[in-house]
């Protein structure tokens, strides 16, 4: 399976993240699954005119490829000129190359949230870069390719959303394709593969006991739950970050900071400070999406009143100050 990769209005961090793929080195992992790069800007030898020839051949249908991976938002500004990113050496807007190549690709992948939904500019008033996602403008279908776009395989753009995307999300989706293809039923309403988007970041969070008892962190580095005060959206964000570790044993929550829901369109402008939970009458506004609010408030009040001393004290410290009790002998 042949993968062509292009980068535009983004940070390149999804490729850097991909290179962290484990346990096997990325190149071995992909090669043995029958996946190769036609060209990747960060990894391939070919440069300059050689690359433009390859891209032209792919765009004209003379050189076959299977997957077009695009990393970074499409920048159509200023004034629709695309001049915010003319692909080096070609003098043409990168978005134009993407539109041409997408028509030839069997599958089109948006690598990362800015490719999927448009990124920081698209979520800033006035969208100064005139940025668009491949098939979304934030959470509205559309984008560069349009809501009706289907690649040669009949699928809409596959949105490997995340900022950055997890290496496993990319590798597993490519390997799924190579194994048996991909059906629309494998994607959620926002085009994300269900194998990671049918979970919540909350699932498997190491702070779950603090969540259960609403024992909340008050300041950075506290061990408690980050939902009540420090802006955590793990109960609403679709991703398996606490079941599929990052960089060995990590996740945002394990790193001590809030989930900012980076797999969701619009995460860049939440309408409040990222590290603060907006509240109404002392109750967080962003409660779990599928739980009746009154029940949540009632349960929270109940669990707060039942919080063990251990959980309460540890939640406001950066290390365990009260250990779980050890059962005494003979009891």
């Amino acid at each position: 399976m042949r993968v062509l990769w292009l980068q535009s209005g983004g940070c390149g961090g999804c490729t850097q993240s991909l290179l962290c793929s484990e346990p096997r080195p990325l190149f071995d992992e992909l090669r043995d699954a029958g996946i190769e790069f036609v060209w990747h800007p960060a990894l391939s030898l070919a440069s300059g005119a050689d690359v433009l020839r390859v891209l032209e051949d792919c765009a004209e249908g003379w050189l076959a490829f299977d997957v077009l991976c695009v990393e970074g938002a499409m920048l159509l500004g200023p004034n629709g000129s695309g001049k915010f990113h003319l692909m080096a050496g070609s003098g043409r807007p990168l978005s134009e190359w993407v539109a041409r190549l997408a028509r030839r690709a069997r599958w089109v992948f948006a690598i990362g949230s800015c490719t999927a939904y448009g990124g920081l500019s698209a979520n800033t008033p006035g969208n100064p870069l005139e940025a668009r996602g491949l098939q979304y403008d934030t959470n509205t279908p559309g984008g560069l390719l349009g809501a009706d776009f289907r690649s040669a395989s009949g699928l809409p753009v596959v949105n490997l959303a995340g900022c950055p995307t997890h290496p496993g999300w990319v590798v597993d989706t490519l390997e799924k394709l190579a194994l048996e293809g991909l059906a629309v039923s494998y994607l959620d309403e926002l085009g994300r593969p269900l194998f990671y988007a049918d979970q919540l970041v909350h699932h498997g969070c190491a702070r779950n006991e603090y969540y259960e008892f609403k024992a909340s962190a008050k300041k950075h580095s506290d061990l408690g739950c980050l939902m009540e005060n420090l802006g955590c959206k793990g109960t609403q964000a679709h991703a398996d970050c606490n079941q599929r570790p990052w960089n060995g044993a990590g996740s945002c929550l394990r790193g001590g900071y809030a989930c900012i829901a980076c797999t969701e369109p619009g995460f860049e402008s939440p309408g409040h400070a990222f590290q603060e939970t907006p509240k109404l009458a002392g109750i967080p506004i962003g409660l779990p999406t599928d739980m009746p609010k009154a029940w949540f408030v009632a349960l929270a009040a109940l669990s707060k009143s039942a919080t063990p001393k251990r959980v309460r004290e540890n939640s406001e410290a950066d290390h365990t100050v009260v250990r779980p009790a050890v059962k005494k002998a003979g009891k």
Partner: protein, 482 residues
């Protein structure tokens, strides 16, 4: 004279276009175009100051932590807080992990594959290098990726993940290291040290760090079977120690309390064949940015604290989205070589005193840092006291101005911040590659890479020397055009 346009110039972070005026087989003039505009300086305006910690890492996927650290430093100054000792050590560890991993990525994935090019077939070293460093398929690629991924497991413990962590805060780190993690982190550092010593160097880090001159380096490399000595064999054969000289003025903001800050520049009166120089105290008041040849509104060169970023996409004579930063009006180079020359590393100084900056010196300087910083990291981990504070709370004032200066892998990174009524009023960034790949300024002085390319062979039938010179800077284009 013919003009050659090279692009997409790949195996750099981001997109890059290099225009060369070629005369008699040599570069007569070079113009560097950073063709992608990112606009972060506008996108940050109006946000609450702490939001910068979430937004600025996303300027760059390869120097993400450095951007975090610069923002955290600026916010710390604004709030008047300082991290506790554990917090400082944790920040150093995360920064060093990214910087060293970037050096490794540069060497194995971005820089070395050019020596495997068919143009070099027949050179004594070509067979070995092609087997080892051919892009993606060479035998070194997977072991290097493995070492890199394992080394980045440090960030899983220290910062949740990489890239784009929110662990670095003005008051320290959100992640307090547990006693168990401290042991695992030391084990990961030993594993990385093992890779560097057996695969990259073929010697201990300490033995490499003891090399103090070009002669000592040559003697050390002779007959040694490892990846870095293999590079030196090719580099010496191609005289890359005499290739890619820029201005020989070096800027560093200083790193980890280990490498001093300052500006190294040559003495005005030359002494013999050797370039002698001295380090001046860093004076950030001398820093300005010039927009003459950028697609940005013209103005007199401005200090970044008064900087503006206003798009003017149709400006005549403009050829890049990159501004031209200058220090006291002069063109300066930044990066690992600059950092080591300013810090007084003897090998880096000797290379520069003999030949000026070069492809070889820039690559050697990164290896100097790999060898010097891993032992420092081991010491920082030992110095951490689990149970003591990692983070001091920081309260932002309603208004104020501040600066955050750090050293990213690629050199000096500065964030200039102004806050008014609780919101960001101005946020100006000068990234390392903005210095190195800057265009001409109002007085017509070309930027460092533009100077380094002059005289290099180019055009039909020329060896791929231009590729080496450009990549020797390890450019990060997405940062450049923030």
């Amino acid at each position: 004279m013919t003009r050659i346009v090279l692009g997409p110039f790949n195996r750099v972070e981001g997109d890059l276009e290099v225009s060369l005026d070629v005369e008699a087989g040599q570069v007569a003039a070079a113009r560097i175009n950073s063709p992608l505009f990112r606009g972060f300086e506008q996108l940050l305006v109006g946000r609450v100051p702490e939001d910068a910690l979430t937004i600025v890492p996303r300027i760059c996927g390869i120097c993400s932590v450095s951007q975090s650290a610069a923002a955290a430093a600026a916010l710390a100054e604004l709030a008047g807080v300082a991290p506790p000792p554990n917090g400082i050590l944790a920040q150093h560890l995360v920064m060093a992990t990214e910087n060293l991993a970037d050096h490794l990525t540069h060497f194995y994935l971005f820089f070395m594959p050019d020596f495997a090019r068919a143009e070099y077939a027949g050179r004594a070293w070509h067979g070995d290098i092609a087997a080892r460093f051919t892009a993606i398929k060479g035998s070194a690629a997977s072991p290097a990726l493995q070492a890199r991924a394992r080394f980045f497991n440090l960030t899983g413990f220290l910062a949740g993940r990489w890239p784009h962590t929110l662990a670095l805060q003005p008051g320290g780190s959100t992640k307090a290291m547990t006693p168990a993690e401290r042991i695992r982190i030391l084990a990961l550092l030993r594993e990385f040290r093992g890779f560097l010593e057996t695969v990259l160097l073929g010697d201990t880090l300490e033995a490499f760090s003891a090399l103090a001159s070009e002669d000592a380096l040559s003697a050390w490399a002779a007959g040694r079977r490892a990846d870095f000595p293999l590079f030196l064999q090719a580099a010496t054969d191609l005289a890359l120690e005499k290739t890619g000289r820029a201005t020989d003025r070096f800027l560093s903001y200083g790193a980890y309390g280990l490498f001093a800050q300052g500006l190294w520049q040559p003495n005005t009166i030359p002494q013999g064949d050797f370039l002698r120089g001295a380090v001046d105290r860093l004076n950030t008041a001398k820093i300005t940015e010039d927009t003459r040849h950028a697609w940005l509104a013209d103005s007199a060169p401005r200090p970044p604290a008064q900087g503006e970023t206003i798009v003017d996409a149709d400006k005549a004579d403009a050829y890049t989205w990159c501004k031209a930063p200058r220090y006291g009006g002069q063109v300066v180079e930044t990066g690992a070589l600059a950092r080591q020359v300013v810090a007084g590393n003897r090998l880096a100084r000797d290379l520069v005193e003999r030949h000026g900056a070069s492809v070889t010196a820039r690559v050697v300087a990164r290896t100097i840092e790999l060898a010097a910083v891993v032992p420092a990291m081991e010491n920082w981990v030992r110095a951490i006291v689990p149970g003591e504070l990692f983070c001091t709370p920081a309260k932002m004032p309603e208004s104020g101005e501040s600066v955050g200066l750090v050293e990213a892998a690629r050199g000096s990174l500065g964030h200039w911040l102004s806050v008014k009524r609780g919101r960001i009023e101005r946020y100006q960034i000068i990234a390392p590659t903005t210095w190195n790949f800057s265009p001409r300024d109002s007085t017509g002085q070309p930027g460092p890479l533009e100077q380094a390319l002059v005289g290099v062979p180019a055009g039909e039938g020329a060896p791929p020397t231009v590729q080496h010179v450009v990549r020797s800077f390890d450019p990060c284009m997405v940062c450049t055009v923030h």
